[in-house]
């Protein structure tokens, strides 16, 4: 059953059109990788889903409900949890306060987030701004989980992190996949790491979804054509 369905989305971002026709389906419990070179519309697509971009054309269905006109906070309450690019925690709140401010009732609470990222418990009283990049990323994921989402969107979650930390984040995503029914949309560039978690891939090229299929079906030819530099 599909949880999220984008149909022929076109959208204008800033002064120019960024999306010219994006189709994307995420089933319940599925991990989908959204790929494409820089500037191909990945971030805009995420803005459409999380309702940060006003008035896209086309249909955005979440749990069979048209959310195309919903304000962003309502989309979040429906169950769309965004881990934004560049982390952006509330830097002058402590780790605990960051989580507390986002909490909504559901199965995800302090204990579960702490179990996934023990580091967040250790650093509970530290200001989020004083954390390392990796810890901030964990906090950003933890914060999104505290809203008890049904769809978790990870926008460049491992960008700019040390390899060891990246592995930690990917391991956490893998754990989420294994132990929950969460649907996950991952935006990332590293195919080798996506391969560990993603069930299927959608590739964007100049604002159009040009290819979709399973991770295994991603041939060298497709990679060259759409993802090569």
């Amino acid at each position: 059953m599909s949880l999220l369905q984008l149909e022929q989305i076109t959208a204008i971002y800033g002064a120019s059109q960024a999306l010219f026709g994006v189709d994307l389906t995420i089933r319940e419990g599925e991990v989908v990788a959204l790929m494409g070179r820089n500037g191909m519309g990945k971030s805009t697509t995420i803005k459409v889903i999380s309702r940060l971009l006003k008035n896209p054309q086309g249909q955005v269905l979440f749990d069979w409900q048209d959310i195309g006109a919903l304000p962003a906070h309502k989309a979040a309450r429906l169950g769309i949890g965004l881990v934004p690019e560049g982390r952006r925690c509330f830097t002058n709140l402590t780790v605990r306060e960051n989580l507390f401010a986002s909490a909504r009732p559901g199965e995800w609470d302090f204990a579960r987030v702490h179990a996934l990222f023990p580091r967040l418990e250790e650093r509970g009283d530290q200001l989020a701004g004083s954390l390392s990049g990796g810890e901030q990323q964990m906090l950003a994921i933890g914060r999104a989980l505290m809203t008890n989402p049904r769809l978790l969107i990870l926008d460049e979650a491992t960008e700019g992190l040390a390899p060891v930390v990246r592995q930690e984040i990917w391991a956490a995503i893998a754990t989420l996949k294994k132990t929950t029914s969460l649907s996950i949309l991952v935006v990332d560039k590293t195919i080798s790491e996506l391969r560990q978690v993603a069930d299927s891939v959608v590739i964007l090229e100049r604002g159009v979804s040009v290819w979709h299929g399973t991770m295994d079906a991603l041939s060298a030819d497709v990679k060259d054509r759409y993802l090569g530099v």
Partner: protein, 328 residues
Amino acid sequence: MIRERYINFLIGALLLIVPLVALQMDEPFIITLATKAAILALAGVGLNLALGQGGLVSFGHAAYFGIGGYAMGILASHAQDYAPLMEVPFVIEGTNLMPVIWLVAIVASALAALLIGALSLRTSGVYFIMVTLAFGQMFYYFAISWPAYGGEDGLSIYVRNQFPGVNTLDPIQFFGICFVVLMAVLFLVNRLNKSPFGLALNGAHQNEERALTVGINVYRLRLVAFVISGAITGLAGALFADLNRFVSPTMFSWHTSGEIMVFIILGGVARLFGPVAGAAVYILLEHMLGGISEYWQIYLGLILLFVVLFAKGGIVGGLARREVRHDG
């Protein structure tokens, strides 16, 4: 660096000790100054919730200060003239009971803040500042041109209003009332700041988009904060009017809005006790420098300039350890 909690305690203790010492030395004027500081601090605490925690630079908080003042003035003037406020469809009498006056001041200023906030929070940045200023000035000119309650001349109340079990005419006892109210409000605001509501308000201040994507209704959150903020400042207005036994349109003027903002900047934006420290220093400067020159605010301006340029955390921020960032 000292923990902010200790600094707060120190500020609160100083504000309490100074009038007590003045009482021993038989200096009632100093008690009145301390009372004024406590009341203005309360007005600042109100604005600080919107400005400091919420990042809502309201340049029209004089509106609520004035509404609180006039709530006291109108109720008390009817009580002293034995003339009911209205007779149709039912009789509403004036009152000289502080708790009733406070309640009216709080409700009236909260309603005004709800209306003004609902409109002005649709804008942001400079526009928000200008819209709130415009609303404040609207009240100012309305008060000037409203002859029923003194118009430009204001309204005098001959006897201070009453509080059960307290002799409000005794300066130290009236100070006690104001000090307790201030501390009670500070306690509540502190609780509020640490609640999910306060944390969300702070988060939305740093990054509105992030707050939205964790499901926070930023507009409603800010509106609620704005209403609470206005209500607190309104309560301060009622006390201020009682201190002076006089209300005038000056309470509504944009100078008043600016002064309340100065307390916060001097004391430390978003610091719980920032407005208390700020208001106390302001009163101190006014008292000391006012004796030297009529234009004492020139010195205030220089000090303010120094704080803004070199000590952004204000008095409390300069002393406290935990840093509060406002741009994230």
